[in-house]
């Protein structure tokens, strides 16, 4: 069970390097990183990587798999296959299922399903409050024992600050990470798009981008009060960035993420009421998009995720206001993220820190890095290969991608989990 990966460029986000190398994998673990001149090692099967880039697999925080409840939209099997094809070696799954994953029993069911069906690692998150209703905290201790990596009510804001502060305080005592959706729920109520000229022209109910900063400001105050470990799921506006920067500078235990769609699309992409572009929070103006990309490049925003949210055709083929929010992203995350590199807004190691190293570190997972002893969860990809995305080719059960028909660059050649190949491009 020893493999030698040769003829590759090794992308090491920790060292910030992209250089020719060879990698020796033994029993599913990275055993040695060798000089690129090494072409054979005793007893090792050689895998010629064709000169492509070998990187730690993507760790995607916030994947929605619709089990239990809506398996017709996405199952652990279909999501796992999509993840493998997209170079995602660890899916950190959301608890906003129906019913919510808010008890150790549900979590155990989900873990069992995931282990049976998905070819990649699945790390579940659990709800912060029962039924995600914002009233009573879940059994955070039991859920951690059952394997919950973090606690979140997903896109529902815990509006009662007393409830939220108690949950944060309790979570802190256990060292649990709380992930929240920074948004002022009053201001954003009923909104389908971001306010501005476009929203006014289309006559759609809109929310000011300020609602995000208000939500973040509130949460920062509560973290300062409670000392909890906190991650903002999606920071998508320029106005929220100074608050985030200050909170980090003041030493709070805070990190932030952003979904791939907010890094690559803007509010105008909705065009003539295209519901595949309806996401939560809504797509922002171009100025916000650029500010957020720059924040990823500078490290202020730590994590990029796909915010994979499967919706069936029936949920999307409705008038815009009524249509469900969300887009699938597991299979398009890598080529979409490479747009930022091709646009010269950041380099590959920087991008990869946000895709693999930082999410793994934040959740205390062993993957996300190329280091001796780390699991051989890896993706081999050609960053330049061009293609036109056809949503019919997606492996997800739901194919609600906004990238249908778009030109993209970057193709996954193979994906390895614990040294085993779980996907290979034909």
């Amino acid at each position: 069970m020893t493999h030698l990966f040769t003829n590759l460029r090794l992308l090491d986000p920790e060292a910030g390097t992209l250089e020719p190398a060879a990698v020796l994998v033994r029993y599913g673990v990275i055993a040695e990183v060798l000089n690129h001149g090494v072409t054979a090692v005793d007893g090792a099967e050689v895998i010629d990587c064709g000169g492509h880039v070998l990187a730690p697999g993507i760790v995607d925080i916030g994947v929605k798999v619709c089990e239990p409840g809506e398996r017709h939209k996405e199952s652990y099997r279909s999501a796992g296959l999509a993840a493998a094809a997209g170079g995602v070696t660890t899916m950190v799954t959301r608890p906003d299922t129906d019913p919510a994953i808010d008890s150790p029993e549900t979590l155990e069911f989900v873990t069992r399903r995931a282990n049976e069906a998905a070819p990649v690692n699945v790390v579940p998150m659990a709800a912060l409050t029962k039924g995600r209703e914002g009233r009573e905290m879940t059994e955070i201790g039991f859920l951690m024992d059952a394997g919950a990596a973090a606690f979140t009510d997903c896109d529902r804001v815990v509006t009662d600050t007393k409830v939220f502060s108690r949950a944060l305080t309790y979570a802190r005592s256990l060292g649990a990470l709380v992930i929240a959706h920074p948004q002022d729920p009053g201001l954003s109520k009923g909104a389908a798009v971001t306010s501005g000229k476009f929203a006014s022209l289309r006559g759609l109910p809109a929310v000011s981008p300020m609602a995000e900063r208000m939500g973040l400001d509130r949460d920062i105050a509560l973290i300062e009060m409670t000392g909890a470990r906190y991650h903002a799921d999606q920071i998508t506006t320029a106005r929220a960035l100074p608050a985030l920067e200050r909170a980090k500078r003041n030493g709070l235990d805070i990190t932030a993420g952003v979904g791939i769609h907010h890094l690559t699309l803007n509010a105008l992409d909705v065009a003539d009421y295209r519901t595949f572009f309806k996401v939560k929070p809504p797509l922002r103006d171009e100025e916000d998009r650029i500010a957020v990309v720059e924040a990823v490049a500078s490290g202020l925003i730590d994590i990029i995720c796909s915010m994979h949210t499967p919706q069936d055709e029936e949920s999307k083929r409705l008038p815009f206001e009524e249509a469900a929010s969300g887009a699938v992203g597991l299979e398009t995350l890598l080529p979409a993220a490479l747009r930022l590199v091709h646009a010269e807004m950041m380099d590959l190691p920087t991008l990869w820190r946000a895709l693999s190293l930082n999410p793994a570190k934040r959740l205390g997972l062993p993957g996300g890095r190329i280091a001796v002893g780390a699991p051989a969860d890896m993706v081999l990809f050609n960053p330049d290969a061009p293609f036109v995305l056809d949503r019919a080719t997606l492996r997800s059960k739901s194919r609600n991608t906004p990238f249908d028909g778009m030109r993209m660059q970057g193709k996954v050649m193979a994906t390895y989990v614990a040294g085993s190949c779980v996907y290979e491009a034909n």
Binding site: S195, G196, K197, A199, S200, L201, R202, G203, L204, A206, S208, D272, Y273, E314, R317, L318, P319, F320, E321, E322
Partner: protein
């Protein structure tokens, strides 16, 4: 005469010459509608279905009369009482009707963009009779025809649109149309009823009504949309009337020959003084209703010609 459109979904898609073509034809229908014999055969043999997902008496009646005067077979469907109550989706309803081969579909829907969505799924010509807060193109066209007949032109006029701009599809369509025809547009109303960044639409925004009306040629009042008022946009109707209701005193700031318009139905004593609304020297509100039929006849006539020309086997 050219009007190269399959549907009439909004003013946004129309050019200046499209608008002129439509208004010129509507002008002839307006004259004909005053004759004893109002009938024409332009839509003979064609089927027109009026689908109203939102209550309407005036617009629906106007479309129905317009279709009948052109010889179409007109059917009204009160969608609120029908299959949507049974859970059928908008698209399924559209597909079902489409299978009955209508030629013209007139649609009103409470959601912005719903008429666009429906138009993508059917083979006939679709007329938007109002979608959410988005557009109400025939209203803007009838307003334009009314202005043109009263003022003798539809360009270089100073026009104030007053009241609840935020919730109004009439305002959006009028801003687009009057802008395309090169008029000066002023929007007057409390800031809570202004859409965000509306100043980027080439309009001037006023929250003081007297200043906003200074010297204008046309005063266009909007209905205060009480049914969309959950959330305290204004403190009270009486304060609104005091600051933004049109009365003789405020109208005195407009040009002496300014006309007063209202798309109806009016809230007398909320956005407009009753006496003023009835003053035949200033108010053209009844003319608007009359022009509504003519404009809808013209729009359906033009779309039907394109629809027939696009049929397989058409000469």
């Amino acid at each position: 005469m050219s009007f190269a459109h399959r549907h009439l979904l909004g003013i946004e898609q129309l050019s200046q010459s499209d608008i002129t073509t439509l208004l010129d034809l509507a002008d002839t229908y307006a004259d004909r509608n005053r004759q004893p014999n109002k009938h024409s055969d332009a839509l003979r043999g064609l089927t027109q279905i009026n689908m109203f997902f939102e209550n309407s008496t005036r617009t629906q009646a106007s479309f129905e009369i317009a279709g009948k005067r052109l010889g179409a077979d007109v059917m009204n469907m009160a969608m609120q009482a029908s299959s949507i109550k049974k859970g059928e989706t908008l698209i399924d309803t559209a597909m079902t009707l489409n299978a009955m081969h209508p030629d013209l579909l007139v649609v009103r829907h409470p959601q912005s963009g719903a008429v666009d969505l429906l138009a993508q799924k059917v083979n006939c010509a679709v007329l938007n009779a109002g979608d959410g807060r988005h557009e109400h193109p025939t209203q803007a066209l009838l307003d334009a025809l009314t202005i043109r007949r009263a003022k003798g032109r539809l360009h270089r006029l100073s026009i104030a649109i007053c009241g609840d701009i935020a919730h109004s599809r009439v305002a959006r369509s009028n801003i687009l149309l009057l802008g395309k025809m090169e008029n000066r547009i002023r929007l007057v109303g409390p800031p809570t009823l202004m859409p965000s960044q509306i100043d980027q639409f080439g309009v001037e925004v006023f929250d003081d009504m007297k200043k906003g009306l200074e010297g204008v040629d046309v005063v266009m009042m909007l209905r205060l949309q009480k049914e969309r008022m959950d959330g305290g946009f204004i403190p009270s109707e009486r304060e609104y009337y005091h600051r933004y209701g049109l009365d003789a005193e405020k109208l005195a700031h407009a040009s002496p020959d300014a006309i007063v318009m209202h798309p109806g139905p009016m809230n007398r004593g909320v956005e407009i003084d009753g006496t003023l609304a009835d003053d035949i020297n200033r108010s053209v509100i009844q003319d608007q209703v009359e022009m509504g039929v003519a404009v809808r006849m013209a729009a359906m006539d033009l779309l039907a010609r394109n629809h027939i020309a696009a049929q397989p086997g058409a000469a």
